[in-house]
């Protein structure tokens, strides 16, 4: 490999080079195939678009949050984005101590609003509702399945929406599609017990498949990828719907079994939040990602575009409109409350 030395790359926009944009992950790390990763993508997009100086800090454990937050403040960041509800305490503390720095926090909202903290929340139950409806419409066996990593609201909100979507489908069509793995009334269901063990996730999905589910909705990060693997291994009998990101992009190897994904628009929200600070338009109003503002959405069907009946697509659009218009209301308690 004897190329020539590349010229110094100064072409990119570095209009705001002395503006420091900073991000702290939670203990899942930026490679969690989930909210850290997606948020980070939005962060990168903002940095690129505005020519900012990026500083990122991954947390290996809960112990690292205060340390990383302090380090960010010390690094003279202009805006600090914290990812995950576990960082809330550290964020609130840093924000109160440093009123000149702007903060944004993903998936959490301080109990009482803080002047310089913008909470970014997402009502993914809405898009999950669509996903449930879609799954019910696509299921041949009349059974769809879901499982989570841990029984925590950021996970169960998806499962709630999904289950409600299926129920709505049954009501509309007088069908009886069953949801395996989650009973939203009892708030009880199937969990892999963590987010790391992919093999366990796969086996968990396999158990749903054995019970007859032909569409799997795994909400378990890397462990959930095992669910996609289980679908892939079924050779077309079973398909899946991914969460957080568009699975056809973030886990492209599984695109062939992905009907769609429930996108949680953390990337856009984070990007917007950072941009607003650069542009001096920051406010501390809680952002709630909804179908309406695109903060959550159903991803394109990609390879399933031709397989999803046009009628179903139309119905999904109607549902979206109804949800936005408030004609359909969701019950999930995990939905973010506007503060």
């Amino acid at each position: 490999a004897c190329g020539s030395k590349p010229a110094e790359n100064t072409a990119g926009g570095d209009a705001n080079k002395d503006f420091k944009a900073c991000m702290v992950s939670d203990s899942g790390g930026f490679d969690d195939k989930s909210f850290n990763q997606t948020s980070y993508e939005g962060f990168q997009a903002a940095v690129k678009a505005k020519g900012l100086t990026p500083v990122k800090a991954e947390s290996k454990s809960d112990n690292d949050y205060p340390t990383n937050m302090t380090a960010m403040v010390a690094a003279k960041c202009n805006v600090i984005v914290a990812v995950g509800f576990k960082l809330e305490d550290a964020t609130d503390k840093a924000a109160k101590a440093n009123p000149s720095i702007k903060f944004a926090i993903v998936d959490s909202a301080p109990a009482t609003p803080i002047e310089n903290v913008k909470p970014l929340s997402f009502n993914t139950a809405q898009a999950s509702f669509q996903a449930g409806y879609l799954a019910a419409g696509m299921s041949k066996s009349g059974k769809v399945g879901t499982f989570g990593g841990l029984k925590i609201p950021p996970v169960t909100i998806f499962m709630d929406g999904f289950a409600e979507g299926v129920r709505y489908y049954n009501k509309q069509k007088s069908k009886n599609v069953q949801v395996l793995g989650w009973d939203d009334a009892k708030q009880a269901g199937l969990f892999a017990g963590g987010f790391e063990d992919k093999a366990k996730g796969q086996n968990t999905a396999q158990n749903l498949i054995t019970q007859g589910a032909d569409i799997i909705f795994p909400v378990a990060g890397p462990s959930g990828l095992g669910g996609l693997q289980a679908a892939k291994a079924s050779n077309g009998k079973v398909n899946a719907i991914w969460v957080d990101t568009d699975g056809c992009v973030s886990a492209a190897e599984y695109c062939s079994v992905l009907i769609s994904s429930v996108k949680k628009g953390m990337d856009v929200a984070v990007q917007d939040a950072i941009t607003s600070v650069v542009d001096n338009k920051f406010d501390n109003k809680q952002f709630i990602g909804t179908l309406e503002n695109g903060g959550t959405s159903l991803a394109p069907f990609h390879e399933f575009d031709s397989k999803v009946p046009a009628e179903l697509k139309t119905e999904l659009d109607t549902i979206k409109a109804d949800l936005i218009a408030g004609k359909i209301t969701l019950e999930s308690k995990a939905q973010p409350k506007a503060s």
């Binding site: 030395k5 290996k60 112990n63 690292d64 205060p66 509800f85 550290a90 925590i152």
Partner: protein, 402 residues
């Protein structure tokens, strides 16, 4: 208090060795310091290689190596230099870094003591993680659900943590004493049970933060928090860790109970013959070890503004094993090893911040340091100038049979 991390494990005292007269130009501890120092140097070399192969600028420069070979080397040098400079400044470069290092070291020391104490009794305590979790659960609960006057609240919360850890450790000792159940299996399994217990509790209204659905507890009352030193994150828990180390030293070397524990650890049959109760020793050792791990748990929830979450134990319980081993099972050694690891953790965060070096590098560094410190013969075969150490470092656990 200033600490030179690089020489820390040096002062780890050797276990009593049969004194063999002979020409020895250097005292044993000096030889050990040199070996430990060399081990750290070697580990940093290994780390440097990893930094170089992972560095983007180096990767780019290698791409046109033929055109400008020096670029590769200068990129490599600057990558390594920048990283290690960041590491050092993050660990020791001023009051804040040093207090950060000490804060990080605090639970590692207590956890390490929990493992060490069990080791000296012939038990391999893989369960510090679980013991810590239970300790943290109880301490946090007392901390936020009870409301007591200043001082008393903290003491009660600490006691709750100690009791929680002691319970979880004691079960292991009890099962081992009564049924012979191997502590390695039981501690591994109880770690998982503790994690799931914690996850479950965090979904209950008792533990959930009011107004929140997330699995996160309230932060403990101010009354239940360890007082902090000035504006730093360093808290009184650190002093407690040192006190705990002193206590373990006293227990092992100056108390009748410790005499019994050590005897059982070194030769259970002879101890039994001498009228000691081996089962009781196992129970007591695990009870105290659990309490020490529980103390580490209190430091997590009462010390550093952390609420109770499913990640409250971080990986302290497992790092504690490495710390104990690096400290050769002695209290002083454990403290020094804990400080070294704390410094590496704090420095690693800074290194990531400044040079984007992943935190996993710190993990590799820690492993390689322990590996070399444990193999003085290897270090010596690389650095030929090192004098010969008498005897090989103390052997902690001889095997599964105690």
């Amino acid at each position: 208090m200033s600490i030179d991390t690089t020489t820390e494990p040096a002062q780890v005292p050797a276990e009593p060795q049969p004194a063999k007269p002979g020409r020895r130009p250097l005292p044993g501890w000096a030889v050990q310091s040199l070996v430990s120092l060399s081990a750290i140097v070697l580990a940093l070399l290994v780390g440097a290689i990893l930094i170089i192969i992972g560095d983007d600028q180096v990767k780019t420069a290698v791409g046109y190596f033929g055109a400008a070979p020096m670029d590769t080397f200068s990129a490599a040098f600057s990558a390594v230099g920048d990283s290690y400079q960041a590491l050092a400044s993050g660990a020791l470069g001023g009051i804040t870094p040093i207090t950060e290092s000490l804060t990080q070291a605090t639970p590692l020391i207590c956890g390490g003591l929990a493992v060490s104490l069990a080791f000296r009794t012939g038990l391999f305590n893989i369960g510090a993680q679980g013991q810590l979790i239970i300790g943290a659960i109880l301490a946090a609960w007392v901390g936020f659900a009870w409301h007591l006057p200043p001082g008393i609240h903290l003491v009660v919360a600490i006691l709750a943590g100690l009791i929680g850890g002691a319970l979880w450790g004691g079960v292991v000792g009890l099962l081992k004493a009564r049924t012979g159940a191997h502590e390695v299996i039981v501690t591994i399994m109880l770690n998982y049970v503790a994690v799931y217990l914690l996850q479950w509790l965090l979904t209950t209204t008792t533990f959930k933060r009011p107004g929140r659905e997330d699995p996160i507890s309230p932060i403990v009352d101010a009354n239940a928090q360890y007082p902090q030193f000035g504006s730093t994150r360093l808290h009184v828990g650190f002093l407690l860790a040192l006190v705990a180390a002193g206590f373990v030293w006293w227990l092992l070397n100056r108390s009748t109970v410790g005499f019994e524990l050590r005897a059982v650890g070194a030769n259970a049959d002879a101890s039994r013959t001498a009228g000691m109760s081996v089962g009781r020793a196992y129970f007591v050792a695990m009870l105290v070890a659990g309490a020490l791990a529980g103390l580490a748990g209190t430091q997590q929830v009462l010390g550093t503004d952390l609420p109770l979450t499913d990640g409250v134990a971080a990986s302290v319980g497992f790092d504690a094993i490495t710390v104990a081993l690096l400290g050769r099972g002695t209290p002083l050694g454990t403290v020094l090893a804990g400080l070294l690891f704390g410094a590496l953790n704090a420095g690693g965060l800074q290194m990531q911040l400044q040079t984007q070096t992943p935190l996993t590098l710190t993990t590799v560094l820690q492993a390689v340091i322990v590996l070399f410190v444990a193999a003085p013969a290897l270090v010596r075969s690389i650095f030929r100038f090192l004098p010969k150490e008498r005897g090989i470092g103390a052997v902690l656990a001889k095997g599964w049979n105690g």
